[in-house]
């Protein structure tokens, strides 16, 4: 394949520090207006900085150009299909940005007295009530900053719950298909991970679960589960799983990363879960921002409630003709305490509450239906033709909102790995699915189309896969050397880890 360098490839990456020229600037600051004193009279010399930090010196038009140019080196959800499994890349309504930017939200100080922040506290309370209904659990804390923060919260809640009953339990069970954050959170919370095997249907292997519990039932602190799981399969044994865990005295934790499959159709609380985290940046449309911000509120059962983080937003009934009022409750003697500063990622709460209001009860249920329909349609499309042969579905049954394919036959027959397929998809203008996860599927591709996509987008994606597999039959090098059209081609990730260069050497310049 003749390689012609694209204009973007020809443009050498330059950092903003490299564009700096002494004396240039953008900001004009206000005058001090007050009688000024020499700095060293106000702060002892030895506590002062000798030289200002070497930040870039650059005018505003050049800053704008620099970051606009960088932005064009990103693929984003607004530009195309983003079937990243487990990430729920659904449309981010711009209304949500507008209401989050209202000064009453954006410029509200977090330490403002609650009586002068009633609108914000009411919004938080309304979001708590909404999430409580969606999850089927009576109590909500909005504090955790993202999913993994919610997991840590849930595990610390579990610890507090057992401690309050005079027990110390050490083992947290989690399927081998679980998200990497699950075991990482388990360790941070001071527990030990015990892996549970997966059965032929992609659900929890019940015999293995029983065996792991029976080893030492009194040591089982918790089972962490995603349902539907990371294979996109609803675990139909969930009621029995809940019974076994509760019988042993453990708590049941729901990783809400896949909640988008079941909103308004099935509720984790009704399945028997005690603690659920919800990724507002997945199911509830908070833009992902290239890696955050998000928020990971938790919903819990009555028995877990006393330990929730503080403060909690509470509602007080009005009297004497006044409406209800809202406050922050710090009087929670059994609380695990704070997980972060102030009240949580409020700006995310505003966006997600706007989303819930926009969709309403029916709209949320319909979103899940469409997400499940889209996933099953794309799965069916990919079961035909070359994809069906080279990329078989890992667990062949109806899926929920996502499904997992195995690239094992493709690698064996065509000599191209899942990674190669993913990189070749970039040339076709698609973000690839999540690759090499879950770990128990060889050469895994995890596809989650979300309700955002049209049939036309799904067809186009299936056709791109078909084309890539067809061209690989003639020339596997095409995929192995892909991508060709992206701003840079395959990058040396090993080098970046062996000899890490994690900042610009400013001293070497100038």
């Amino acid at each position: 394949m003749a390689l012609i360098e694209t204009p973007m490839q020809a443009e050498k990456a330059q950092t903003i520090f490299e564009k700096s020229k002494p004396g240039r600037r953008a900001a004009a600051l206000p005058e001090a207006e007050v009688p000024e004193k020499p700095l060293a009279e106000l702060i002892p010399e030895r506590l002062l900085r000798a030289e200002p930090p070497r930040l870039p010196e650059i005018a505003e038009p050049e800053i704008v150009r620099h970051y606009n140019r960088l932005s064009r080196r990103n693929f984003d959800l607004d530009s195309g299909f983003y079937p990243l499994g487990s990430c729920t890349m659904k449309h981010n309504p711009r209304l949500n940005e507008r209401v989050a930017a209202l000064p009453g939200h954006a410029r509200l100080h977090p330490a403002q007295d609650p009586k002068r922040a009633q609108g914000a506290l009411e919004l938080m309370w309304l979001l708590q009530e909404s999430l409580s209904e969606i999850c089927g659990l009576p109590h909500v804390s909005l504090q955790p900053s993202a999913g993994s923060h919610g997991e840590l919260a849930g595990l610390l809640l579990t610890r507090a719950y057992h401690a309050d009953r005079g027990e110390e339990r050490r083992r947290v069970l989690a399927p081998d298909t679980s998200h990497g954050t699950n075991p990482a959170s388990v360790t941070m919370a001071g527990f030990e991970v015990v892996k549970v095997a997966t059965n032929e249907q992609g659900g929890v292997d019940m015999d293995d679960l029983r065996a792991k519990i029976t080893e030492d039932p009194d040591d089982v602190a918790c089972l962490m589960l995603t349902n539907p799981n990371t294979l996109g399969v609803f675990d139909e044994n969930i009621a029995e799983i809940a019974r076994l865990i509760h019988e042993a005295g453990g708590t049941l934790y729901y990783d809400g990363a896949n909640l988008n499959a079941v909103m308004g159709h099935s509720r984790p609380g009704d399945m028997g879960f005690d603690i659920v985290h919800v990724n507002l940046h997945k199911s509830f449309s908070q833009p992902h921002g290239g890696g955050g911000p998000g928020a990971g509120p938790i919903a819990v059962s009555d028995r877990i409630e006393p330990y929730l983080p503080k403060p909690q937003v509470i509602r007080r009934e009005g009297s004497n003709g006044h409406g209800p009022s809202f406050d922050l409750d710090f009087e929670r003697p059994k609380s695990i305490g704070r997980l972060r500063g102030f009240q949580g990622n409020f700006g995310v709460f505003v966006r997600s509450y706007a989303y819930i209001l926009s969709l309403g009860a029916d709209g949320l249920a319909e979103a899940s239906e469409t997400a499940v329909l889209n996933a099953n349609y794309l799965k069916a499309r990919l079961a035909k033709g070359r994809a069906g042969k080279r990329l078989p579905i890992a667990f062949d049954r109806h899926c929920m909102h996502e499904f997992v394919l195995s690239g094992k036959p493709m690698k064996r027959d065509l000599g191209i790995a899942t990674l190669d397929l993913a990189k070749r998809l970039l040339d076709f203008g698609f973000h690839p699915p999540t690759v090499y996860f879950p770990l128990l599927v060889d050469e895994a591709l995890m596809v989650e189309p979300t309700e955002t996509e049209t049939k036309e987008s799904l067809d186009a994606f299936a056709e791109a896969i078909e084309k890539i597999l067809a061209e690989a039959e003639d020339n596997s090098d095409l995929a192995k050397n892909a991508p060709y059209t992206t701003p840079v081609r395959r990058l040396d990730e090993v080098k970046a880890t062996r000899q890490p260069v994690v900042r610009q050497r400013l001293d070497a310049k100038a």
Partner: protein, 455 residues
């Protein structure tokens, strides 16, 4: 689509959920609303908050009413930055990855430490993550923390430490500063990390270098929380012996948002690079030798290392870190220094001006940079209510978190707080205190119950 799937209705796809676990009724939520209706509903709620456009905001305590330049909004609202996922496919994520690399460079420069990550959730949880790193680095499980560190950070460290199995020892303040003798006595050979904050919660600039000596002596890591807006003026933690410098990033390019989303920054020495929490972008080359950026050192992270990861963090605050980087570029080398000086000068003025008000005295006389503490001789929460009626949020009542500073008030200055506003605050405080003193003649004001109380 249903034909292709081979079902006759979408409902069939949900049959894999056992019937008794299907909800079988609509959610008890309101019906969907039009865009205009949703806007009005949220605008109504927003209108019921006393934000910094309605009230002149002298409240700080970790988050500050700085001016966020328009260029920050323009760039962070671009689809290409707003809507991608974490950059797992580097070939199509060079924009975001390069921003991370630039951000890391800027934060390293600010803190004087060679390694920065691409950002964590926010300040207090970043401090708690430093504790996890310190346990890994020292194999010890005891933390010593100054009461000058933000109360939320101390509380968060305690919460996390239950999971770590670590002990937390607090050291008191003397004259607004960490009690050096008490600190030195508290540090021993079992201490994993010593946590300081400068400027501390009372606004006082700590002598980090002097205080940190005891940590070095016992092989404990020195962790310094700092306010990035003061780092154009104050000696960077890296030059004061800090192993880790971290903090709340909100003052850089992020709005107040009632407490979030913002970001935490986290910088460390080279020795800690493989123990760092969070994403780190690194420079590399593509197959043709072009310069490019990738997520480096991913073997530290949860998606690879699972239960052995250095932290559980996944989604963090990339967009907020971009806002910070754009704000820093806009301020530039000179502007950043000038802004720091402006804060110090106006803060010095405000401190003197308020101390001249009858019924107000300084809570401490230690040097300050952008925030200071006073003591009122009237019940602070009542005074705050009166001043609020004049359209001013006078500050943060210290008694909420420090019982020993009942009627203490923490006052913060930003470039938005003009001399005229500072003078108004002084007058409003004077009027409120004298009114309050008048109404409480002959009563013991220290026994007055407190009203409200957020944190």
């Amino acid at each position: 689509m249903l034909d292709t799937i081979g079902v006759s209705a979408v409902d069939e796809l949900f049959e894999q959920i056992p019937a008794e676990l299907r909800l079988g009724r609509p959610l008890a939520l309101p019906e969907g609303m039009s865009e205009a209706e949703v806007y009005e509903r949220l605008a109504d709620l927003a209108a019921r908050n006393a934000d910094a456009e309605k009230q002149v905001c002298f409240v700080g305590a970790g988050m500050y009413d700085h001016y966020v330049p328009a260029i920050v909004d323009a760039i962070t609202s671009r689809s290409e930055f707003l809507t991608p996922y974490t950059p797992y496919q580097p070939e199509i994520s060079q924009g975001g990855l390069q921003v991370m690399f630039e951000f890391q460079t800027a934060m390293s420069e600010l803190t004087g430490l060679p390694v920065s990550n691409a950002g964590l959730y926010e300040g207090p949880s970043s401090l708690a993550s430093a504790g996890y790193l310190a346990i890994g680095a020292t194999k010890r499980k005891r933390f010593v923390i100054s009461r000058g560190v933000h109360p939320h950070s101390r509380e968060t460290l305690r919460t996390y430490s239950v999971g770590y199995g670590a002990e937390v020892v607090e050291v008191g303040l003397e004259g607004g500063l960490t009690d050096a003798a008490e600190l030195a006595a508290a540090i021993d050979g079992e201490t994993a990390a010593v946590f300081l904050q400068s400027p501390n919660f009372l606004g006082a600039v700590e002598d980090v270098e002097a205080l940190g000596a005891a940590a070095k002596e016992h092989g404990a890591l020195l962790v310094v929380a700092c306010d990035p807006m003061t780092l154009g003026i104050l000696k960077p933690p890296g030059e004061c012996g800090a192993d880790i410098a971290l903090g709340e990033g909100q003052p850089l390019g992020n709005r107040l948002d009632f407490g979030g989303p913002s970001f935490g920054f986290f910088c460390a020495t080279e020795e800690q690079i493989r123990r760092m929490p969070g994403r780190i972008a690194g420079e590399t080359e593509d197959v043709d030798g072009r310069r490019g950026f990738v997520l480096a050192l991913q073997t530290r992270e949860q998606h690879i290392r699972r239960e052995k990861a250095t932290n559980n963090i996944c989604t963090a605050q990339a967009l907020n870190a971009l806002g910070a980087m754009v704000h820093l570029a806009w301020l530039g080398r000179q502007g950043f220094r000038e802004l720091g000086e402006l804060l110090v000068q106006r803060t010095a003025y405000a401190r003197e001006r308020l101390a001249s008000v009858p019924g107000v005295e300084l809570l401490h006389e230690a040097p300050v940079a952008r925030e200071f503490a006073v003591r009122l001789n009237a019940p602070v929460e009542v005074v705050l209510d009166r001043v609020a009626e004049r359209g001013i949020a006078a500050g943060y009542p210290l008694g909420r978190k420090y019982p020993e500073f009942e009627n203490g008030l923490l006052v913060a200055i930003t470039e938005r707080r003009t001399k005229a506003q500072i003078d108004d605050l002084a007058q409003a405080l004077e009027a409120a205190i004298s009114a309050e003193r008048g109404s409480f003649v002959g009563q013991d004001t220290t026994k007055e119950p407190q009203v409200g109380g957020a944190a």
